[in-house]
């Protein structure tokens, strides 16, 4: 249960072998490519340039996609072994030949659609001219007046006041950026005025010749024409469908191969080039070293250099969590929070244990646990493997604690005879009869989990060589002693009536650790740098500032110790809430007739399972992330994403 060991790989090859190398990297399924030049590279890497070639497969990709759309073919990944097309030019040729065959029907359809689109565009343009009640012909046929219709950017509209030429602009409508309208000027001044409006970014709207009458009449005429053209377009469409039936397989194969080639070519953006050599760098899992090396056997122009993962400071090694069968599903939660650093600690096992335990405690019911277990098996197979896996484990835990509580589908006394038969007097542990015990146990569990989290933080701190984190911080040794002593003192005094809070106890185990936490920065500086300083940063900090700042921090730490511990009361609270909700179900059952009872039992149980199951699951995630993870874990890791030439129909 650790983190998969990685290796940094540098691939150097002759430039003409680049495609083969990238192809092999994709095929390996275990290579995560990194940019050959890091974003923050300094002057040293200037000689090495990234390949920024235009992708030759982009044009045929768009072409083939539009052909598929035109033919209404749903593109899907297909085996392309028997497709012989290779280069961008081959694919472009293939597209051209298809387009040639489609030309006639396509042209007919296109012409109809163009007409429709023209008419519709004219309709939209006329919409902006609603203030105009004059006949278009009369306006455009003026003998001495030049007219242009269009849109003018709003900033340009304001600039019109500057010009004193012989023209006027009539605005009809405004939107966020443009003012729609028309300008008039004498025909003699046409050139000058047109130049002025062009320089002001006036976009002319051509009112086509087919638009006649005034605005209202033009609307009716255009709509009638659109209906007629739509019929023609449908006829051409039928012809295209026949063509699609014949050529679909061929297009699917070509498109799948094109996608693959294009995706491989796209990887070039991360490849560095220097003269006739190309450089690719990335990471592979160490265990796949041999398989990866084997892929390049027999390629003398390609050289592989394997190095430790931290060999290149500009690349952060990715993190792959290594988990056992029992804990693997919980990696989903860890990934949700953020992966650990490559050199960090994998908390999945800890999460698996605590999550399962807390779920069982909060949702203890033998029958409902069994249902969750079964649902987990189904969901794991059909929907989501990890989520299903979590459900099965939580289901088993729920069954175990359900047995402890003696609860089966809300029947709290069903298991009493069994325990009596075995002779265990302590069980079942009926929640309502042991309220204080359950709540105190929940707090005790919380204290234990917080202490374990602190211990983990201390271990991680020492491993990272961070003395402040491991020893002096609120989650370091000082925090552990401080919090543990107070917890032990309170428990001993209040629960067992043992007076251990003596003066030496308080001074040694509470006051001194508190001072350490308060002065963690200067103490850590003394240990680490052998010098006294009040602040980590270069800025000078006064003693007054230091005291004020750390007083508030200390106050926050103490408050968080209390609030985090009390937060675990919810674990006990949900035990009672579950029992309470099932009590409501059983009361409802007693209120209805015997015929309806099974119905109420099933609905009631289903409701409690869905409602409470979800709340419990979310509350535990909250406890894990806020109360536990915040003490030792920072999810700054980078996920491992091996390169692949995936199938995608998206045109960027």
């Amino acid at each position: 249960m650790a983190i998969e060991k990685m290796e940094f790989v540098s691939v150097t090859a002759a430039r003409d072998k680049l495609d083969t190398v990238l192809e092999k990297c994709c095929r390996s399924g275990c290579f995560q490519i990194e940019s050959a030049i890091s974003s923050n590279a300094g002057g040293g890497e200037r000689a090495l340039q990234l390949l920024n070639d235009k992708n030759p497969y982009d044009v045929p990709f768009k072409g083939l996609s539009s052909i598929a759309i035109e033919l209404d073919i749903q593109l899907r990944e297909t085996n392309f072994d028997c497709c012989e097309l290779e280069s961008g030019a081959d694919f472009a040729g293939f597209c051209d030949s298809l387009e040639e065959q489609l030309a006639e029907a396509s042209a007919e359809k296109q012409s109809a659609l163009d007409l429709i689109s023209q008419r519709r565009a004219a309709l939209i343009q006329i919409t902006h001219l609603h203030g105009l009640n004059e006949q278009f012909d009369r306006i455009f046929n003026c003998r001495h007046v030049h007219v242009r219709v269009g849109k003018l950017p709003l900033e340009s509209h304001r600039k019109l006041e500057y010009y004193d030429q012989n023209f006027f602009f009539v605005p009809f409508e405004r939107d966020r950026n443009y003012c729609w309208g028309m300008y008039f000027c004498p025909k003699n001044d046409k050139e000058i005025v047109d130049d002025i409006f062009t320089s002001l970014y006036f976009e002319q709207v051509h009112i086509p010749d087919f638009v006649r009458g005034n605005t209202e009449e033009a609307f009716k005429l255009l709509e009638a024409e659109i209906a007629e053209e739509e019929k023609l377009a449908e006829a051409a469409d039928r012809e295209l469908k026949d063509f699609a039936r014949v050529h679909e397989q061929e297009i699917q194969r070509a498109f799948s191969k094109l996608c693959h080639k294009r995706a491989v070519f796209e990887l070039r953006r991360k490849v560095g080039v220097l003269r006739d050599k190309v450089f690719i760098k990335g990471f592979i899992p160490k265990k796949q070293h041999k398989e990866f090396e084997k892929l390049f056997e027999g390629c003398p122009e390609v050289s592989l250099t394997f190095m430790p993962p931290d060999a290149d400071s500009s690349c952060t090694p990715p993190t792959v969590l290594k988990n056992t069968f029992l804990t693997r599903p919980y990696s989903m939660l860890v990934e949700m929070y953020g992966l650990p650093d490559y050199t960090g600690y994998n908390p999945t096992a800890f999460v698996a244990l605590t999550y399962t335990l807390m779920f069982g405690i909060m949702f203890g019911d033998l029958g409902q646990g069994f249902i969750i277990f079964l649902l987990g098996l189904i969901i794991g197979k059909k929907v989501h493997k990890n989520f299903g896996g979590m459900m099965t484990r939580c289901g088993v835990s729920s069954m175990i604690f359900g047995t402890v509580y003696g609860s089966v589908f809300g029947y709290e006394d069903l298991l009493d005879p069994v325990f009596e038969g075995i002779g265990i007097d302590l069980l079942p542990l009926h929640p309502f009869r042991n309220t204080s015990f359950i709540l105190l146990t929940a707090v005790g569990l919380g204290v234990a989990l917080i202490l374990i989290s602190m211990i983990l933080n201390i271990v991680i701190g020492f491993r990272e060589g961070d003395i402040e984190k491991a020893v002096f911080s609120n989650n370091g040794i000082a925090g552990l002693v401080f919090y543990g002593s107070i917890a032990a003192g309170v428990a001993a005094t209040m629960l067992f009536d043992v007076k251990i809070m003596s003066a030496p106890f308080v001074i040694m185990l509470i006051v001194i650790p508190a001072v350490c936490i308060f002065c963690k920065v200067p103490f850590a500086a003394v240990v680490k740098y052998k010098e006294f300083r009040l602040s980590d940063e270069e800025e000078h900090m006064t003693v007054g500032n230091f005291i004020v700042e750390n007083f508030f921090e200390m106050f926050e730490y103490v408050l968080s110790y209390v609030s985090n511990t009390m937060s675990f009361l919810r674990v006990g609270g949900f035990v009672l809430s579950h029992a309470g909700m099932m009590l409501v179900v059983s009361t409802l059952m007693n209120m209805v007739g015997s015929g309806a009872r099974p119905f109420v039992l099933v609905i009631g149980n289903a409701f409690v399972m869905v409602m409470e199951g979800m709340i419990v699951a979310i509350q535990i995630i909250r406890l894990e992330f806020y109360e536990i993870f915040s003490r030792f874990y920072s999810g700054n890791g980078k996920p491992f994403e091996p390169v692949k030439a995936g199938f995608s129909t998206e045109i960027e």
Partner: protein, 344 residues
């Protein structure tokens, strides 16, 4: 105390907007596009510009208008930042408007002098028209420098225009006018900074302004030397009279006998490591260093005016990069070459 919190709020806001700015990957995508329409479409889908460019048709929008919209967005971002904390009416915080007014005034003087008023009006940004108290559109109607000066009576520019050197033909000496206008701008900014802030905040702000002036001076001096062969005295007269690097150092630079020596001297200083041997001009390296300083300042400063000043400079650089990328794509320049000319 409360003032400190409000400053933190605006700095946090600035940093969050900074996070939406275009990245190197965005520019890599942009320079690989085949047309300005594709670049426009790309920018339309970025978080930073999607709102401003939402209603624009990338296929029909004119390049000039498109660039004006982007500049407008930069100004809007700055204005939003100021309004967020109600700073827009406070002194110094109108520095971007002052800078824009100054650069428009320089263009106007040139336009009136050369009869290029139409071009001036065409390029006049919307935000200047809307926010400046100077009626640029009315001023653009002037047909001579004297008329322009007369129209400016009652504004702070009138006195300044009186000091402009005139040539024998009665035309304005444009270089002199530009230096005087810029000098006046930076005097005003420095005065605002001194009046409005104290202690480290004031010093840091003045340091930023002076460093910016140093870069302008170095670029101009290098150009005057290499393209026009100006003598040291003439170069000195064309420079802005402020410096962070020290008057002696700058004088030494101006006194270099040829551009190579000038470049070598700059490369030997703190700007050196930002100038690549492949760069034909030193401007890229100098601007790279300015950008680095501004990014560094934005990352570590908790002062609103300092963070805002640095942020605006970073926005200006982003805008310059976009314009350069658009020009490169428009004239079908090799993507790798365009990319090399961008400043990160």
């Amino acid at each position: 105390m409360l003032e400190m919190y409000s400053t933190n709020a605006i700095v946090a806001k600035i940093r969050s907007v900074y996070g939406t700015m275009l990245t190197m990957d965005d520019f890599r995508e942009m320079v690989a596009k085949r047309s300005v329409a594709e670049v426009a479409d790309y920018l339309r889908h970025t978080k930073r510009y999607q709102e401003r460019l939402r209603d624009i048709d990338p296929n029909s929008v004119h390049r000039g208008l498109f660039e004006q919209l982007l500049a407008d967005e930069s100004y809007s971002t700055y204005k939003r930042m100021c309004e967020f904390q109600g700073l827009e009416d406070k002194p110094f915080y109108d520095f971007l408007l002052k800078k824009s007014e100054c650069s428009q005034m320089i263009k106007l003087v040139n336009a009136v002098d050369c009869g290029l008023q139409h071009s001036f009006v065409q390029g006049l940004p919307r935000y200047v028209m809307e926010n400046s108290r100077i009626p640029f559109l009315t001023l653009a109607k002037c047909r001579s420098f004297e008329e322009l000066k007369a129209r400016l009576k009652g504004t702070g520019y009138f006195r300044l225009f009186g000091k402009f050197r005139l040539t024998g033909e009665g035309r304005v000496d444009f270089t002199d006018a530009e230096v005087k206008l810029r000098t006046s701008l930076y005097e005003q900014l420095a005065e605002d900074a001194v009046r409005s802030f104290t202690g480290r905040e004031k010093d840091e702000l003045l340091r930023l302004i002076r460093s910016e002036i140093d870069v302008i001076n170095m670029i101009n001096a290098y150009r005057l030397k290499s393209f026009f062969g100006y003598e040291p005295e003439k170069i000195k007269r064309s420079m802005l009279p402020f410096t962070q690097a020290g008057k002696k150092n700058m004088d030494k630079l101006y006194e270099c006998s040829d551009p190579e020596k000038m470049r070598a001297m700059i490369e030997a200083g703190p700007y050196g490591k930002y100038i690549s041997p492949d760069d034909d001009d030193i401007e890229l390296g100098l601007r790279r260093r300015t950008l680095y300083t501004m990014k560094h300042t934005l990352a570590r400063s908790n002062s609103a005016p300092i963070a805002l000043y640095a942020f605006v400079c970073i926005c200006e650089n982003e805008l310059r990069n976009i314009v350069r990328a658009i020009e490169g794509v428009r004239y079908d320049v090799d993507p790798a070459l365009i990319y090399r000319l961008l400043i990160f």
